[in-house]
Symmetry: C2
């Protein structure tokens, strides 16, 4: 299996970075091939912008998704996007590893999605959710946060964590067609002792070893909707 | 009233940019003072990183929130963050205006939140939600998207739109203490005719004129939780 870990933490000595290194080693020990996109180390540019396209289909008005399609067809994607796209194409499993910033991914990682999830390659037209063009690949979200486990879930102060992550889990990975495995959360990281951190890394080893049994999040099926995305009468939608 | 519109669209001729200009004019016609942070025009840097802090409290290990506090206290914030912080301090109403990218804000705008919502100034310790340091200010999210209204809500293909936006509405603005007004969504924008676009701008005028009646989203109250954020027995939490 080819694994792509996309990692975005501004501190190379962070626990989040240790999680990335630990996963890489564990996947490799299992015989998998692992590529890492270390976005901070590579000084990735997260801004989707006109300058991404050297040869514009429409130089007068930027529609980002249309220029993505055009640049992808004509082989004029900028080098950094082209490299990430190749990594993504090769991957059987995409891992997004990050610290939770404002109940979401850091801008650095959001920009990786904005720029690399190309229209025409990852999704497009009615190719989304179970018809998304990443179908057949798996995705896994692993992250650190300051909050504790009891602060999330029904009746908790912050509400449902998977709900807060739904723009990534469902709106990006699920939409693109990935089978989205249940996320791995490392709680309360800035406040815990060395021993508790070791325990999390051991949990992460176990999670990697048992990934085939981890289970996936439910996603919509376009079988339950008509061409205008109205629900079909007999559909069992969420 | 002082209004700060934070706007993030890569195409200056976009309908989203027209929404920003229209709101600015309408607020000014009402006698309000309007400042615009046009993040693409200002080439705002959305990456939260070590280089944001010229004088580190801890040069050996970056904890972004702690360095934010330190730089804020010592007056060593970088010029771009310091400028945005001043704009934010002056604002009675913060408007975030953007195109929906992957069911979320563009990386450019996420980075504005990551870098400008300073620990110690916007939130910190147990100062969040109804004790957030932005208490007394209002926030309003206005955005364009490709999807149609029937694609969102119970039983729809994409699910609840306010739920998808919860990392921004609740996890960022609500967390910071803002009263979060009901969002304004401009649906199906890339596919609609000029006339329909004019109708949306007229709806937006009306929304600006009636903002005092718009209503706010429910947010958690820390009154319903103990110091460890466990729900109190008599609390009515969501």
């Amino acid at each position: 299996m080819n694994v792509l870990i996309v990692h975005a933490h501004p501190e190379p000595q962070s626990f989040c970075t240790a999680m990335m290194a630990r996963m890489k080693a564990r996947f490799e020990a299992q015989g998998h091939s692992v590529e890492v996109s270390d976005l901070y180390a590579e000084q990735f540019d997260p801004v989707a912008k006109a300058a991404d396209f050297a040869e514009r289909q429409n130089p007068d008005y930027l529609v980002y998704a249309l220029e993505q399609r055009h640049a992808s067809k004509t082989g004029t994607l900028p080098a950094d996007i082209a490299r990430e796209v190749e990594r993504l194409k090769c991957a059987d499993l995409l891992v997004l590893n990050f610290p939770l910033f404002w109940f979401s991914v850091p801008a650095m990682l959001k920009g990786w999605i904005d720029r690399v999830f190309l229209s025409g390659l990852v999704y497009g037209g009615r190719n989304f959710y179970d018809r998304g063009l990443m179908k057949g690949k798996q995705a896994w979200v692993t992250f650190t946060l300051g909050g504790r486990e009891h602060m999330f879930g029904p009746g908790s102060v912050h509400g449902d964590l998977e709900g807060l992550l739904s723009p990534v889990l469902r709106g990006s990975l699920g939409y693109a067609g990935f089978e989205v495995l249940k996320p791995f959360a490392a709680y309360h990281v800035p406040y815990i002792a060395e021993e508790a951190r070791h325990a999390i890394l051991e949990d992460l080893d176990l999670a990697v070893d048992t990934l085939h049994n981890r289970g996936a999040l439910p996603m919509p099926s376009l079988d339950h909707f008509d061409a205008q995305m109205n629900p079909l009468a007999n559909g069992s939608v969420r």
